[in-house]
Amino acid sequence: MTDRQGFFDLSKTGISRRTALKGLVATGTGLVAPGFVRYSQAQSSAPIKIGFQCHRTGIGAAYGRWYEKTTNAAIKLINDTGGINGRQVEVVIEDDGTDAGRGAEVVGKFANQHKTDIVYGTLFSNVVIGSAPAAGELKIPYYVVSEGYHVASGKLNRYCLQPGITDVRAQVTSVAPWIAANAGKKVTMVFPDYAFGYDHRDYLPPALKNAGAEVIAQIAIPPTESSFTKYFPQIPAETDVIYHVMVGPAVLTFVKELGEFYGSNGPKLFGFIDSLEAVDVNSPGLEYLNGSHFWEGAPRYAQADDSDAMKAYRAAVGIDDSGASTSDAKDVSTAAHMFGCWETLYVIKKAMEDSGYKGPEDRAKLIEATEAMTEFAEGPEHPQGKKVFNGKIHQVFGSQNISKLEGGKLTVVHKTSIEDGQYEPEADYTTQAL
C-alpha cells in the first residue's frame, strides 16, 4: 500500500469509500486523543541528526580526526545550551575513506539509511565534488568545510554550501597585498601539480599584479614526486619570495632540500600552512622555515590578543597554547582549518532556527534560510572572526592570518580584512530549483 518513498497510495489498495471514511473518522479521533499528543511530542523532541562525512581513513585522516574532535566539542556545547529548536543534536559519523566514490555512497547512506537531516563536514575537494551529485539528487543539504573554490564556482548544486570556511581563491587574494608590500615584488610559485595547487596558480598572479608585484615563475611539482632538488634551478635568481604550497608528507623533504640548495642566502619564503597541519613546526628538517611566513585560517598558537571566544573555543576543542592536544603534546592539531567545523555547525543551528526546521520536509526552507544569511558576528559561535556570507554562491568570506615562524612558534603579524578576499561572484545557485 505504500510506494517506494513510503507514501500511502489509496488507488492501489482496493479500499472502499466507506472504509476510507471510517478510517478518516478513526484517525481524527486519534489525533485528539492523549496518546497521540504524547506521540507528537516524541516526534518533535527527537534529536536532529547530522550526518558527518568524515575522513577517518585515507590521505585526509589527520584532518578527519581533528574535524571529528572539533565537531564533538561544538555539538556538546550546542546540546548543553539547549540544542537546536529545543531538540538535542545527534551526530552520525561515516568514514568516506577520503575517496570520491565512497563519499557519494556515504551521502546516500545518510539520506536513506540513517535518515539524517543534513550531511556535513567534508574537507577534501575530490570527495566534495564526487558527493555533490548525490546530495543534489537526494535533495539533502550538504554543508562542507573544504576551502576549495568548487562551491563558489557554481559547478555543484543548490544543496551544497560552504558557510564556515573561506575558499582558496579568497585566501590567495587576501594575502597577495601583504606579500607585495612586505616580502618582495618578484615571486616564484612552487605548488602541487593538481587542482589544489591550480587554485593558487590561477588566482595569485592577478592578485599580485593588482598589488604591484608579479609572479616571475610557476613551478608545478607532480604529486608523486619525492625529491625536489632538480626543480630548484628553475627558480629565477632575481626571485624575492618563494611562495610554496606543498600538501602532504613530502613537505619535510622539500624544506630540507630547499635549505641545502640555498643555505643562508635564499629568497624569503611564504607558504600555506596546509602542508604542516598536524605536523610540529619544530620537527627536525624544518629548521629552514625559521623566519618565514605562513597563511593560517585560524592561528595554531595561542596569541597574546586572543579574544575570550577564541580562548573558549580552544579550551572546548582541547588544544593547548601550541596548538597540540591538551592530552598529548605530540598530537598537533589542524587548527588552521578545523575552526570551520565549529563555525559551520553554528551556521546550521542558526539556519534551522531561522527556518523553524522540523524535519526533512523543511530541507528546502533550510537552504533558503542559509542563503538569506549575510553576516556572522565574531563571538563564541564564530571565534575565528567576523564573516560575510554570499547566499548566491553559498560561500563565506572572512579575514586571514599571516604568521611568522620564529622562536619555535607561529605568531600572527598581520590579519587581512574581509574585503581583501572578496571577488566578483561567478554563479548564482538561487536560480536553481530546490
Binding site: T57, N112, Q113, P133, A195, Y198
Partner: protein
C-alpha cells in the same frame, strides 16, 4: 567449461539471477537500492576483467584504463561537447575499443609479469594524463555532470537517469546484457579457444589457432565491457574523477573476481557484492575496517581457494558456468 555442463540449466540460473535483481528493484530499501545499482555497474566492470583474467589467464594490472576511458569518454562528451546520453555512451564504447585495441597490440607482445607491468604502465599514463590535462578533465577533483545533462530523450519518452528506479533498471539492463554476453562468449567456440589458450597456449597454437588474434579479441571485448561500465558510472552517478583511473581501480576488479571466483560468470557479481557489503557494514563499527576486510579475505582464501563460486563449482555444483 566443466564436465557435465548443461546449457539449459546455466541459462535458467542466469535468468533467475536477473529476475531476482528485477524484483529487488521494487522491494529494497532506498539505501540498498542505490548501493546495488552502483554494485551492478562495478560488477559489470569486474565481468569485463574476468573475461580476460578468468578465461584467458591474462592478469592485467591496468584495467582501470578501460573503465576510465568509458568514464571520461562519456563524461567529457556530455560536459564539454553537450553530447546526448546515448551518443556519449557510444563514444565511450568507441574510446574503450580503440584504446584496448592499441594496448592489446602492444601489451600482448609480452606475457606473465611483463604483461602485468606493461598494462599497469599504460594505466598510469592515462591517470597522469588526466591530471596533466586538468583544465579539460577537472584533474584530481574531477567533474560533475549536472542532473539536466543526464536525461535521455527517446521520442516522447524521457528517461531521467537521476531517478533511482530508472538508474537501477539501466544499471541492471547493462549488467544483464553483459552477463548473458559473457555466458554466450564463454560457451561459444571463441570462448573455448580462450580457455584452451589459458590452459596451454603452445598446444593451442600447435592445433592451428591464431592465439594472438584470439587474445587480442579478448582484450578488446574486455576493454569495451569495462568502458561500458565506466560510461554507465559517469552517466548514472554524475561524477567523473581521476581516482577511478588510479591503481586502486585496477586492483579492485582483480579482487572482486578472485573473491567471487575467476572464470565463473556470476563470480564477479558475488565478489563485488561481498566486498561492498563487508566494507559498508564494518566501516560502521570501526575505522580499522580494512583489517576486518583483510581477515575476511584470508579466511576466504583458506576455505574458498578458488573464490566463492569457483569452490562451490569444484565441490558441489559442477555444471556452474
Amino acid at each position: 567449461m566443466t564436465e557435465g555442463s548443461s546449457p539449459a540449466r546455466a541459462y535458467v540460473l542466469h535468468l533467475a539471477v536477473i529476475a531476482i535483481l528485477v524484483v529487488l528493484n521494487f522491494i529494497l530499501p532506498a539505501y540498498h537500492h542505490g548501493l546495488l545499482a552502483r554494485i551492478l555497474v562495478l560488477a559489470t566492470f569486474a565481468m569485463g576483467y574476468n573475461l580476460l583474467f578468468g578465461y584467458v589467464g591474462l592478469l592485467s594490472l591496468g584495467h582501470a584504463i578501460f573503465f576510465a576511458a568509458g568514464l571520461y569518454g562519456a563524461g567529457l562528451g556530455v560536459h564539454h561537447f553537450e553530447l546526448s546520453v546515448p551518443v556519449a555512451f557510444m563514444a565511450a564504447l568507441a574510446c574503450g575499443a580503440v584504446l584496448s585495441l592499441v594496448i592489446g597490440l602492444l601489451a600482448l607482445r609480452t606475457s606473465g609479469v611483463a604483461f602485468m607491468i606493461v598494462t599497469m604502465m599504460f594505466a598510469q599514463v592515462l591517470a597522469l594524463a588526466i591530471l596533466y590535462f586538468a583544465p579539460l578533465t577537472g584533474g584530481d577533483q574531477g567533474l560533475v555532470l549536472q542532473q539536466q545533462e543526464r536525461v535521455v530523450h527517446l521520442g516522447d519518452t524521457v528517461l531521467d537517469l537521476t531517478n533511482p528506479m530508472t538508474r537501477y533498471m539501466v544499471a541492471l539492463a547493462l549488467f544483464s546484457i553483459v552477463l548473458l554476453l559473457t555466458l554466450g562468449v564463454v560457451r561459444s567456440r571463441f570462448g573455448r579457444v580462450l580457455i584452451a589458450i589459458r590452459e596451454n597456449e603452445e598446444r593451442t597454437r600447435m592445433l592451428g589457432y591464431d592465439t594472438f588474434a584470439n587474445k587480442l579479441a579478448a582484450v578488446v571485448v574486455s576493454g569495451v565491457i569495462c568502458a561500458a561500465a565506466g560510461s554507465a558510472y559517469a552517466l548514472l552517478f554524475g561524477y567523473v574523477g581521476a581516482n577511478f583511473a588510479s591503481v586502486q581501480y585496477s586492483i579492485l576488479p582483480l579482487l572482486w573476481v578472485l573473491l567471487g571466483g575467476a572464470a565463473t560468470t556470476l563470480g564477479p557479481l558475488i565478489g563485488t557484492l561481498f566486498m561492498y557489503y563487508v566494507v559498508d557494514i564494518t566501516s560502521g563499527y570501526t575505522s580499522a575496517y580494512l583489517l576486518i576486510v583483510g581477515i575476511a579475505l584470508i579466511l576466504l582464501v583458506l576455505f574458498f581457494p578458488k573464490g566463492i563460486l569457483g569452490t562451490i563449482r569444484q565441490r558441489w555444483v559442477r555444471w556452474l558456468p
